[in-house]
Symmetry: C2
Subunit: 536 residues, 2 copies
C-alpha cells in the first residue's frame, strides 16, 4: 500500500500508532544476521541490471532477480550495507549509459544460471515422475522409465505431490547409504542415520539448532573456519550461539592448522562453552582440499576436546588439482578405529546443488550422522517432522545422483559424458583463474584445488582504504562496489567471509562459461591496476 495524500493526517487524527514489529522490538538475533553472498553488492547488481534494461532494452540477459525493486528495499538489512548508499550513484544515474552491457554474477555458485546445462538423465527421470503419462512415450530411455517407476512406487499415491516420511523417502535413504559405502571403500552406512533435507543448508541449521544451549559464559560455542561460508555465521547469530573463529593458513594454500584450532578453542573457553567444530572440505570460499593427514589430526583434536564434528562436504565431487583427493570425514573416522570410530560424533552434509549437477533450485541434500546419541537422533527426527518433509523433486534427483546409471544401462554413456564434460570444464576454469590472477601484480591467488570459487588476495593502496573508511565501508567492499559499477562484474568482498585483519580478498565463482571467463578475469585484473593507480 503506497502512502496516499491525507494518509498521514488521518493517522495523526487517530493517534499515531506505533507498529508492533519494529527494528527496536524485533528478534535481536535476527538483526545480527549477515549474509554477504546475497548482501548489498547483489542488491546493487540488481539495480544495475534494471538500469541496463532501460539503456539497452534489447539486452538478452534476463536473470531471475532482475525485476526486483531493490531501490525501495534499500540494503540496510544486510549488515554491512549501512553506508553503501554513499557509494551508489544518485537516481539521476539511471538511464545513463554504463561502461558495460551486462552484469556478470560471479557472486554465487549457481551453475545453471551461468549457462551450465542440466544433466539429461536427471531431468528425464524427474519429468517422468512429475507427469507419469510420459511413461508411455517412446522418447525416454528404458532405464529412466524404470527409475521413475521405482521412485513413484515409493511415494504416497505414487505421486511427488504426497508428503514423504520427514527423513525422506526410505528407498532413497537406502540408496544414499549404498552410495556412501561405495564412496568410502566399503565402510558401511546405515540408512537410519541418513536424513534427507531441503538443500544442505537446511540440515546444517538443524544440527546447529540441536547443539545450542546455555546462557552467558555457558553459551554454546561453535568453531568455524575463517574464511567461512556465511551460512554458518548467519545461523549462529540467529541461534544466539557464539561464533569461534579459527583461521585457515593462506600461506599454505588455506590449509587447516590444528595448532590454530587449539588457539581458538583455548581462547573461546574463557567466554563460552565450545561444543562443535565445523569443517568445510573442499573449502568454500577457499577452494582448498584437505589431506588425509589433516583430517585425521582434526578428528583426533575433536575427540580429545569433546567437540561434535560437522563436515560440510557439499563439494565432494568438485576436486580438480593434481594430487588433491577428496577424503570423507566418515571414512577417515572409521579407518582410525576405536575409540574414534565408535565414539566421535559426526554429521556430514551433501547437496544436489553443487558437484556436476548444479541443481540448486530443487533444494535437495542430506546429512549422515555418526555416533549420535539415539535419543538426540529421535529429537532431530521429531524436529524435522514439524516441517513435514523435504521437497520431493529434490529427493528424486538426489536418488539419481547417489545411484547413477550403471554401465549396462542405456543412459550410462551420455550420463558419464555429460558429467565428465562439466567437471573437466570446471577443472580447466579453476586452473585458468589461478593463472590469470597470479600474473597480476597486487593479486595473489591460491590454487583452486576444489569447490567452485577463487578467493584471491588483493593489495589495496592506503588511500583507497582511507577513502573506504570515510564512506563507512570495508575496504574490499569499496573495491567490489567500484568494480561492479565500472565493469558489471559482481563478486563478494572477503569481509563477507572473514579474513585476517588488514588483508583483503574477494570471492569469485569459476562458473562463467569458458569463453567468457578469460576476458572477465582480465577485465578484473585491469580494473585492479586502474584502481591501484587511482588511489596511489
Amino acid at each position: 500500500m503506497a502512502a496516499r495524500p491525507g494518509g498521514h493526517n488521518l493517522a495523526v487524527m487517530n493517534g499515531p500508532k506505533e507498529k508492533v514489529l519494529t527494528l527496536d522490538t524485533m528478534n535481536a538475533c535476527v538483526k545480527r544476521v549477515e549474509y554477504a553472498v546475497r548482501g548489498p553488492i547483489v542488491l546493487r547488481a540488481l539495480e544495475l541490471e534494471q538500469e541496463l534494461r532501460q539503456v539497452w532494452p534489447w539486452a538478452h540477459h534476463s536473470p531471475p532477480d532482475s525485476t526486483q525493486q531493490p531501490a525501495s528495499h534499500g540494503t540496510g538489512a544486510f549488515g554491512s550495507g549501512k553506508a553503501h548508499s554513499v557509494c551508489v550513484p544518485p537516481p539521476s544515474s539511471q538511464g545513463v549509459k554504463k561502461p558495460f552491457t551486462e552484469v556478470i554474477r560471479a557472486n554465487i555458485g549457481d551453475a545453471h544460471a551461468m549457462g551450465q546445462k542440466p544433466i539429461t538423465f536427471l531431468r528425464q527421470v524427474l519429468a517422468l515422475c512429475v507427469h507419469p503419462d510420459l511413461l508411455n512415450s517412446p522418447d525416454f530411455p528404458e532405464d529412466a522409465k524404470r527409475r521413475a517407476e521405482s521412485i513413484l512406487q515409493a511415494c504416497g499415491g505414487h505421486s511427488l505431490g504426497a508428503y514423504s516420511n520427514s527423513s525422506g523417502i526410505q528407498p532413497i535413504r537406502e540408496h544414499v547409504a549404498q552410495y556412501i559405502q561405495r564412496r568410502d571403500g566399503g565402510i558401511p552406512a546405515d540408512p537410519n542415520n541418513i536424513f534427507l533435507s531441503t538443500g544442505a543448508s537446511d540440515a546444517i541449521v538443524t544440527v546447529l539448532k540441536l547443539l545450542v544451549a546455555g546462557e552467558g559464559r555457558c553459551r554454546t560455542g561453535v568453531l568455524i573456519p575463517i574464511p567461512q561460508y556465511p551460512l554458518y555465521s548467519a545461523a549462529l547469530a540467529e541461534l544466539n550461539a557464539v561464533q569461534v573463529d579459527y583461521y585457515l593458513d593462506e600461506d599454505r594454500a588455506w590449509a587447516l592448522d590444528v595448532a590454530e584450532l587449539r588457539r581458538a578453542l583455548c581462547q573461546a573457553r574463557g567466554h563460552c562453552r565450545p561444543r562443535a567444530l565445523c569443517i568445510i572440505n573442499p573449502g568454500n570460499p577457499t577452494g582448498q582440499v584437505q589431506t588425509r593427514e589433516c583430517i585425521e589430526a582434526v578428528i583426533r583434536f575433536a575427540f580429545e576436546e569433546q567437540l561434535f564434528l560437522m563436515a560440510d562436504e557439499v563439494y565432494q565431487d568438485n576436486v580438480y588439482a593434481e594430487g588433491s583427493q577428496f577424503h570423507s570425514f566418515k571414512k577417515v573416522l572409521m579407518e582410525m578405529g576405536p575409540p574414534y570410530s565408535t565414539q566421535q560424533e559426526l554429521a556430514s552434509f551433501h547437496s544436489i546443488s553443487k558437484g556436476y549437477m548444479g541443481e540448486c533450485g530443487l533444494r535437495g541434500g542430506y546429512v549422515e550422522v555418526v555416533n549420535m546419541d539415539p535419543a538426540v537422533q529421535q529429537q532431530m527426527q521429531k524436529m524435522m517432522s514439524v516441517r513435514l518433509c523435504p521437497p520431493l523433486p529434490g529427493q528424486a534427483v538426489l536418488d539419481m545422483v547417489v545411484s547413477p546409471p550403471e554401465p549396462s544401462d542405456p543412459s550410462f554413456t551420455q550420463f558419464q559424458a555429460e558429467k565428465q564434460a562439466v567437471l573437466a570444464d570446471l577443472a580447466a576454469k579453476a586452473k585458468l583463474t589461478e593463472k590469470v590472477f597470479n600474473a597480476v601484480p597486487g593479486i595473489r591467488c591460491n590454487p583452486v584445488q576444489g569447490a567452485m570459487y577463487s578467493f584471491p588476495r588483493i593489495e589495496l593502496p592506503p588511500r583507497a582504504i582511507q577513502r573506504a573508511k570515510e564512506l563507512g565501508l570495508a575496504p574490499d567492499m569499496f573495491f567490489c562496489l567500484r568494480l561492479l559499477e565500472e565493469t558489471g562484474i559482481c563478486v563478494v568482498p572477503g569481509s563477507g567471509f572473514g579474513q585476517r585483519e588488514g588483508t583483503y580478498h574477494f570471492r569469485m565463482t569459476i562458473l562463467p562459461a569458458a569463453e567468457k571467463l578469460r576476458p572477465l578475469l582480465e577485465k578484473l585484473s585491469q580494473f585492479h591496476a586502474k584502481f591501484t593507480r587511482e588511489y596511489s
Copy 2:
C-alpha cells in the same frame, strides 16, 4: 553402526566417553517441541504396516513411510509417547494376523497419498519446465507450453535448477499479487509484499521468528486457537516464545469469540508480552469458516490491543458448507478503512499443499505482509536469503494455482472439470462425515464447513479414562491407539491439538476415497460403541 560384541569393553578400556550431544546437553527448547500429526500414533501405524506386510505380503498398499524402522527409533521424542510403549503389543505380536488388512492414514492432510489425482495442467507445465525438450512434443497443449516457457524465461539460465531470488521468482510474485487482487474484489496487492516460501509452514515460522524477543516476563506471547494446528505450538516451543491459548467455542461450531480472546490476553499479560494473534481460517482441525463479522471483530481487537495478526488461510479454497464463504483477512482489513487498513500489521499465508491441488510434496506457498515496518520487511528478506530460495518446482506450481488457465485457453475446460470434481467430492465427504458421526451416540461432530478435517468430540467412559491414566496416556490417545490396533484406522487424538479440559476429540481427514469413507466412518463408530461397552 550397530553395537558389536566387545564394543562396550573397548569403550571402557579407553575410558567411557560422554557424548557431546545428549538429552541433557541439547537445546532444551527443541526438547519441548511436540508435533502430534506425526507423533507416536503415526509411528505405531508405520510399525503396523510393516507387520501387515509380513502377514499379507501381497498387500498392495505401500505408503511412503512403510519401510521405516520405527521400533529402533522408539517414540519418546514425540512428547506424549513416553508411556506409549505400554500400549503397544510385545514384539511377539509381529507376524500375528491383524483384524484388518490395511492401515488407513486419516491423520494428515495428504490428498495424493489418499488417492486424489494431480491436476493435469499443473503436472504438464511442471514436466515441461523440468525437461524443456518436451516443448517440441505434440502431446502437450499450447497453453501449457506457453506457460512453461514464460516460467523458464524468468529462471536463471532458463532452468529450474538455478537459484531464484530469495523472495521467489519475480513474475510469480506479481501473479500472486494479481490473484490476491482478483480474490479480494479489486483491492490491490503489492508484489513486493509477497514472499514465496517452502510451504506455508516455512513462512509461518519465519514471521514468528521475527516476533520473538525479550526474557522472563517480557518474553513474546503469541495467541493461538485451541484446538490449533500443532505447527504453532511446536514453533513457539522451539523459539522459546510463550503460547497463549484462546479457546474456540465448540458449542457454536468452533466459532471464535472475541470475549475469549480478551480473557486469554488479559491473563497472559501477567506473565508475558503478547504481541501476535494467530488465526486459522478455515480452521484446522475444526473445519470452521469464520464470518465476515467475526473477522472484523478480530481485526478491531488486534488493532486496539496492538497485536500483529497472522492469518493462516491455506484452506481458502476448501469451503463446502452452504452459507459459508471465505473472507480473507486482507480484504476485510482494507474494507474497514483507516486507521485499520493503514496501520494494522497482518501476514497472510497460503500454500499449494491443500485446496484442490494437494501438492504437498512440492513444498510451495507464500506469505503476503501488510503494513509491515519496511525496515522489518528488509530483515525478513535478509533472513530468507540465508536459506537461498524456496524450491523452484513449488514456485512454478504456485504460479499456475494463482494464474490458472483462462476460458480461452485449450486447457481451461479440463482444468476446471478436474478442480470442480475434487472440490465437489470433498464437499460430499465433509457432509457425509458429519452425518455419520452425528448418528452415533457418544460422538458429536460440528459441521465441516471447510478445510479437510472433522474434529468430533467423543465421550469416553470413566473407566477408560482411568485405564489411560494408569498407562500414562491422554485418554483420547488411548482411544486412538486402541482404534489403530483394532481397525487399522489412524487418526490423531485431540490432545495433540489442544481441547478444553475434560473433553476428548480426534482429528480425521475427509480425504479417503468416497467408496472407502463410509465404511471407514461406520467402522470407527462401531469401534467407539464397543470401546464404550468394554469400559462401562
